[in-house]
């Protein structure tokens, strides 16, 4: 996927003017936060659970090598295979090789952000294999040749009429010639079209919310049932997971799932929680003949032991973006890569480089809502600040910003001089705004006055008045 994070500012500008997107974002803000709050209100021990989740993942990250190897051994023990991918290119190639080994022509896919991260669909298509997204949201955006704008609700940027248009444009060959806007009818349409795909797919690819080291199991947490059909019906099941998805035991999955679903959709548990342990056994009624797990690093091991390690606790619930006022204003596409919102603003610079994604950690007021709702207690603002520090150290921040900051710091570090300059500044601004009490246009402050007035200072600075008052007292 092409990275467009460099142009975040203009992406955001376009998004703010996109009426359809703005309508869709209103629905998001009206939905997720309220559902999360209601679910958490019913679970008084939620904060203790967050502590437990944080500690659990910290433990895993401290011993990641151990759990990865244990997981691999257990998968092999059950007749499955584990493939190690250093980067996106390796992961894509591994998947392609598996597909070719069974002469696959069509693969069905459950929702997987790792698949987006490695750009799998485009790659498979280029090699003559047809990937079919089966999660409803993913399916819709695949028809529209788009990427997800949200990590759990990939088509959240769309409205019903846009879905109706997409189905109408593509479902004719399946016998659906009428344009339909009724949500239930649209869903039935998708279900019937996808059912044919499920039955004719050679390989099924899913993501993994967790990988259990104790049992060699991958777990997906879903609501539509498409994940199960994706991984059970074809001959081969490939689970894509990044290395930090490890958890030690089955019991740990229960801890994290309780956090995940409440933080994501406000559900106590999702409709399906599916555990995959190896290929079909002799006594099994169904299941794939082959079970592969592709474990992707793609820069994550470089985060271990550093200031971004905490980010590897992320369980991809989306609470941070659902509560982020910036995400809420522009949606996910403006962020310019796979992971949007606050978690993306921390992760994207690591995965595609700070040169390309430097805008993202800057586009935050540090309001702290993301950290407040993060079930894994990831200090997201702190890590965005770390990226800004890296940027500053490498002189990547814009020259105007560096100059302004330097000039301001020069005075701020010299209190006597600062008092004089502040006094002059206050006097000047006061003069400019004396008639109305505010300034409507100010040179060099167009970013402010283009949109709002600047209230004028009261006159003399506090320090000037205080000094006069102390002088009068003594």
């Amino acid at each position: 996927m092409q990275v467009t994070s460099q142009t975040f500012k203009s992406n955001a500008s376009v998004a703010l003017r996109d009426a359809a997107l703005q309508r869709a974002l209103k629905n998001l803000k009206a939905g997720f936060p309220g559902k999360r709050a209601a679910a958490i209100a019913k679970l008084p021990e939620f904060d203790q659970l967050r502590d437990a989740g944080r500690d659990l993942k910290n433990h895993v990250l401290e011993h990641l090598d151990f759990y990865l190897e244990r997981f691999e051994a257990k998968v092999i023990e059950q007749g499955g295979q584990v493939h190690w991918a250093r980067d996106a290119a390796e992961a894509r190639q591994i998947v392609l090789d598996i597909c070719r080994s069974v002469a696959a022509r069509r693969v069905t896919k459950g929702k997987s952000m790792i698949s987006e991260e490695i750009g799998l669909n485009e790659f498979l298509e280029a090699h003559g294999i047809q990937p079919v997204e089966t999660d409803l949201g993913e399916y819709i955006i695949q028809l529209r040749h788009e990427h997800p704008s949200h990590i759990i609700a990939p088509a959240i940027h769309l409205n019903r009429d846009q879905v109706a248009d997409a189905f109408h444009a593509h479902h004719g060959p399946y016998g659906f010639t009428e344009r339909n806007e009724n949500p239930r009818a649209l869903m039935n349409e998708a279900r019937q079209v996808l059912r044919q795909q499920f039955l004719s797919a050679d390989v099924g690819i899913t993501g993994a919310n967790f990988c259990i080291a104790e049992t060699g199991t991958t777990v997906i947490v879903t609501n539509e049932g498409n994940g199960d059909l994706t991984q059970i019906l074809p001959r081969v099941h490939i689970a894509l997971a990044s290395i930090e998805k490890m958890v030690p035991t089955l019991e740990d999955v229960s801890t994290l799932t309780r956090l995940l679903t409440r933080s994501a959709t406000g559900q106590e548990i999702t409709v399906y929680t599916t555990f995959s342990s190896g290929p079909r056994r002799v006594e099994d009624l169904d299941g794939p003949e082959q079970f592969h797990v592709v474990l992707l690093d793609n820069g994550r091991s470089g985060m271990l032991g550093g200031e971004f390690q905490d980010m590897l606790r992320c369980i991809r619930c989306s609470a941070c973006m659902n509560h982020c006022p910036v995400y809420g204003a522009i949606g996910g596409h403006a962020y310019g890569w796979v992971y949007p919102g606050p978690m993306g603003s921390v992760l994207t610079p690591q995965l595609v480089g700070i040169d390309a994604a430097g805008q993202l950690p800057n586009a935050s007021t540090f309001c702290g809502r993301c950290e407040e709702v993060c079930p894994m207690r990831i200090p997201l603002p702190k890590m965005m600040r770390h990226w800004r520090e890296r940027e500053f150290e490498r002189h990547l921040s814009p020259a105007a910003v560096r100059f302004g900051l330097g000039a301001w710091a020069f005075f701020a570090k010299r209190p006597r001089l600062y008092r004089i300059v502040a006094g002059v500044g206050a006097w000047l601004l006061r003069r400019l705004g004396s008639r109305k009490g505010r300034i409507e246009r100010l040179p060099l402050a167009g970013g402010w006055t283009a949109w709002r007035d600047l209230p004028a200072p009261q006159g003399r600075t506090f320090q000037q008045q205080w000094a006069a008052r102390q002088g009068a007292r003594s």
Partner: protein, 259 residues
Amino acid sequence: MSATLSCPHKPRVGLFVTCLVDVFRPTVGFAAVKLLEDAGCTVEVPAAQTCCGQPAYNSGDRADARDLARQVIAAFEDFDYVVVPSGSCGGTIKRHYPHLFDGDPAWQTRAERLSAKTFELVSFLTDVLGVERVIARYPDTVTYHDSCSGLRELGIKSQPRRLLATVADLDLREMAESEVCCGFGGTFCVKYPELSNRMVSEKAAHIQTSEAGTLLAGDLGCLLNMAGKLQREGAAIKVRHIAEVLAGMTDIPAIGEPD
């Protein structure tokens, strides 16, 4: 005003005015002095203060942020308490200074000591001094915006509302989403003006829907942002720092109003 002091002697408080209050709204500083003196404190204002360093800190300029933090620490570490009429600057000193000196144990210890005795004004009055009521009158309906740093870094939520409830003739009317950021964000508002504008526009809409006559908050940055937006839109809502109302210093024009 009744005040239950937690320490036997008269606490010696250093007032960190903040750079915005110093230049834009000195009244907030004098209101803070009055509230602190009424509560039995001796207030001093060190001349060697400028800014807490937050703009540098949040821009990734750790070196300048550290220099300014050292300046603040040196100027204020001898006081019993440091009080700041801003959750944002207060949060920087209290929550961020210690981390700023990771790897520098001597300064880190001094930063931690300062952190422990630094408080945002309203939090200091209520949580430390135990002030339960103020003698003030403000005959208007008001709505209160929870500024992000005060709310999330310092846990300031009920304290301002408790004190406002004791202001005579004041009627508090909560706006929708009072805990959502106003879009100021320090340098954010000029680095991403369009995004900032969207956020403050939504905030202004919630403020207007509350039908309050006055908007209050505890941070001047947010207040300048919201006042500027409300006035650009022609809304007849007065904007004040909460300290002005609590101290009864409301005979001067509201923020952005002419004399």
